[in-house]
């Protein structure tokens, strides 16, 4: 054996450079998204009168609080390399059950936990199917989607109005500050974002989520409880969808089986636009917030544009998405 005594320590300057480089790479997608979002906002302000009104930005939050909550749940799932197609359906089911229960005269204090529990249970069920029986997430959650929408129709094919005083008062409550307002839903959504961000970066569970997304096989051999983590993220997603459903029911004051149709795609798009990789293991909740804002801002621009036909609306959304994503890609692209 050769004994090499003269080992050279790496020069610290070099180390620091490498470190800052690594950091930059890590946050590059998120920062790029933020910059582009600001750019998009700027373009809106220049082009449309009234766009610069602070309330316009706040409205993006007001109008997308439920999507934000759902997308946060989706972020957990996607970080593990999974996907959850059931979220829109669970949102709808939540509005339906909530409306149904309230209509029957259940007190909100009971109805609220019940719907959250239902959402979490559906998530748990799908998680178990995925973990124990190795069913592909796409399929397991597609089944979950059928199930949840199906249950909506079993309750009623018609929409059910909500007139419960508590619900109505929360729905109508506007929190004013300096001439602008937000809703309780926005506060709840922001709280969810903060909690999620904390959990993901400061708890063991959060780090397990990243590890499982990085390489589930390795994570298992590293002694992490992959199954538990996986089941947990789907449960969280189910719970977030249910909470999102509650917020939506504040927003709409009704339950309906066709509510939130296609919301799964919006949520996935928001997460991915926020820089999270669908293959798992990389991304941040803050990215998801930005992703939701991007979608919301696109929507806002379209309403301000105000003269688009139905089909041009779709084409315009596509174009804005395209421009955004290609720019984002161009900024973050690594040289090969």
């Amino acid at each position: 054996m050769i004994d090499l005594k003269t080992r050279m320590p790496s020069p610290p300057a070099n180390l620091a450079r490498m470190r800052s480089l690594a950091m930059r790479n890590k946050y590059l997608p998120v920062s790029a998204t933020a910059v582009l979002l600001a750019l998009m906002y700027g373009i809106g302000v220049i082009n449309y009168t009234g766009f610069s009104d602070t309330q316009v930005v706040l409205n993006v939050f007001v109008d997308n609080a439920f999507l934000l909550v759902v997308a946060v749940g989706m972020t957990f799932v996607i970080l593990t390399g999974g996907i959850d197609l059931s979220v829109g359906a669970v949102v709808a089911l939540t509005t339906m059950i909530a409306a149904g229960l309230l209509e029957k005269g259940w007190p909100p204090a009971v109805a609220l936990p019940v719907v959250l529990l239902v959402g979490a249970t559906i998530g748990l069920g799908m998680g178990c199917m995925i973990h124990f029986f190795e069913v592909q997430p796409f399929i397991a959650t597609l089944a979950g989607m059928f199930l949840a929408r199906g249950l909506c129709y079993v309750i009623s094919t018609d929409s059910i109005p909500i007139s419960d005083p508590f619900w109505v008062s929360v729905a109508n409550k506007q929190i004013w500050f300096g001439g602008f307002f937000i809703t309780i839903s926005v506060l709840i959504a922001l709280a969810v974002v903060l909690i999620a961000a904390y959990v993901l970066s400061y708890t063991k569970f959060g780090r397990d989520v990243y590890a499982v997304g990085g390489n589930p096989q390795s994570a298992m051999l590293m002694g992490l409880r992959v199954g538990r983590t996986r089941i947990a993220v789907y449960t969280i997603s189910g719970l977030c969808s249910a909470l999102g459903g509650v917020l939506l029911s504040f927003y709409m004051l009704s339950g309906y089986g066709l509510h939130a149709s296609g919301m799964e795609l919006d949520a996935i798009a928001a997460v991915v636009i926020g820089g999270t990789l669908l293959t798992g293991g990389s991304g941040y909740v803050i990215g998801t917030v930005l992703g939701v804002l991007v979608l919301g801002l696109i929507q806002t621009i379209i309403t301000f544009q105000g003269d688009l036909s139905s089909w041009w609306t779709k084409i315009f959304i596509g174009i804005l998405l395209f421009v955004f994503i290609v720019l984002q890609r161009a900024v973050t692209r690594r040289r090969r």
Partner: protein
């Protein structure tokens, strides 16, 4: 030692995979405070035994007792809880996480459930320092070379308060000084009474560190021996199950004649070639029939050189000349068109397509070269694949099983076969003998000599300097991502001089 109670006993272990009996009635005893080597050829069942022990695989037969009590782990998590800390053969870490996390995930320091990041980084730095590795622990693991990753995996295992430490080929990608460092730590742990299970194909290492060993062959137990009582020759005989003729082959493993090679126009030359942040501009020529060895410590830039020469990474400085003419590399396919082949060091991420079969993996590069519209005729495929399975003794010799089901060493051979059948002018081999058993290693070394005698140019990278010296006409020395000197393999060149060149950073 054997007067004490064994901490771990595995008895009559049997494990079958569809079509393969990986383990058949294997026994193993592990005593506190010993280093116990599990020896055997590629595919003998060593890794499977370890995975059975830690619950990564369910076994079909036999029982396991730990500290006297029967155990049946449902997975590595339980095994870890019970005090078995393991480094698996293929590096099983999360490339997307930071080095620090990879060392500590699952037991990160927390306060009120909140991970203390700075404490975690400090702790990781300490653990790595124990192995004399100073790297930025907050960088992503995936940005590091396979050797560094291996060290991280070891550091991770060391942190656990373990009764049993299992190391499956931890040294296959480490160079001498890292191995040394690892052994130092292992000895210290041994002193503390920890039992260490150790797998390697380096016989020298076994004799240096192991107290006893268990030898497997074809999934069966051959025997348990005290290292001191079994000669290297007997060990090899036990592993291979054949008598001396193979051993003679190994003994007379080729030694490169101090060659006087007539060097005409180089097959490939790098002219001031470099890539910012990866490797400083370097100039290197490889001639027909020449074996050029790359020597350097881990992270010195050997792999980077190989990747640039193959077009796997894009150079931002200088140029490549093939047969004297400058060529712009648009990616690996350009290099391949010019007869260059590259067998990467990390077979799992850069080499194999795990779910494809052995046959498909072997013909992959050849097929890629021809394009999808011109398939290699099936008859020819079968013939080529059969030939290389035989030549490299790939086991099991079934071309139609997924390559993921092969043992590590056999996977490495598949990768070699892939490039050999393309009959390149220049073969770049990055750690081609990693994880390969003694017999096969000698075969591969012989192959390199044969190929170069037949006119093939070879760029040979290995952490084992002996091997590099034995095979190369010329050794290029790297240090800190810079080519620092080129040494002709003439009479005077020996390991010490190469080490000196590495250390001093200049010509010896």
């Amino acid at each position: 030692m054997s007067d004490r109670e064994p901490v771990l006993v595995m008895r009559g272990i049997g494990k079958r995979f569809p079509g393969v009996v990986a383990l058949d009635g294997v026994d193993l005893r592990l005593f506190p405070g010993e280093v116990h080597a599990v020896m055997g050829e590629n595919g003998a069942g060593k890794s499977t035994l370890i995975k059975v022990l830690t619950g990564a695989y369910h076994h079909d037969q036999g029982d396991i007792t730990l500290g006297g009590a029967p155990v049946a782990f449902s997975g590595p998590h339980q095994a870890q809880q019970a005090g078995i800390s393991t480094v698996y053969q293929e590096i099983n870490l999360c490339p997307n996480l930071s080095v620090a996390e990879n060392v500590l995930i699952g037991r990160a320091p927390t306060r009120f459930g909140r991970i203390r990041w700075s404490a975690m980084r400090r702790r990781a730095e300490e653990l790595l320092a124990r192995l004399q590795l100073t790297i930025d622990v907050s960088s992503d693991l995936g940005d590091h070379s396979i050797a560094v990753q291996q060290m991280v995996a070891i550091a991770r295992a060391l942190d656990v308060d373990a009764k049993v430490l299992v190391l499956d080929e931890p040294t296959s990608s480490l160079d001498a000084s890292e191995v040394d460092q690892l052994f130092r730590v292992m000895r210290a742990l041994k002193e503390e009474g920890i039992a260490i299970l150790f797998v390697t194909h380096f016989l020298d290492q076994v004799y240096e560190i192991a107290d006893r060993m268990t030898v497997l062959r074809n999934g069966r137990l051959v025997g348990e021996y005290r290292t001191a009582e079994l000669s290297q020759l007997d060990l090899v005989a036990a592993m291979i199950g054949k008598e001396l003729e193979v051993l003679e082959n190994i003994e007379e493993a080729p030694r490169r004649e101090v060659a006087v090679l007539e060097r005409g126009t180089p097959v490939l030359s790098a002219d001031d070639l470099g890539r910012t942040g990866a490797i400083a501009p370097f100039t290197l020529a490889i001639h027909k029939g020449e074996v050029v060895g790359l020597a350097g410590l881990l992270g010195s830039g050997r792999t980077e050189v190989a990747r640039l020469l193959f077009g796997a990474d894009r150079a931002d400085h200088g140029q490549v000349l093939v047969d004297g003419a400058p060529v712009t590399f648009r990616g690996p396919q350009t290099a391949m068109k010019h007869g260059i082949a590259y067998c990467p060091e990390n077979r799992r991420t850069d080499g194999l397509v795990e779910e494809l079969t052995v046959r498909e993996n072997i013909i992959l590069a050849l097929q890629a070269e021809r394009g999808w519209a011109r398939p290699v005729p099936r008859g020819k495929q079968d013939e080529l694949v059969a030939r290389y399975i035989k030549a490299l003794d790939i086991r099991p010799a079934d071309p139609e099983i997924p390559v993921r089901n092969l043992s590590g060493g056999n996977q490495q051979k598949v990768l070699l076969a892939r490039w050999l059948i393309t009959e390149p002018k220049l073969m770049i081999l990055d750690e081609p003998t990693r994880g390969i058993d003694v017999g096969a290693k000698a075969e591969i070394q012989r192959l390199v000599v044969e190929l170069s005698d037949g006119g093939m140019a070879v760029l040979f990278i290995s952490a084992e300097l002996e091997e590099v010296l034995r095979l190369s006409h010329k050794v290029a020395v790297l240090r800190d991502r810079r080519l620092v000197s080129e040494l002709d393999n003439t009479d005077g060149l020996d390991i010490d001089r190469v080490m000196e060149a590495i250390a001093s950073g200049g010509a010896a």
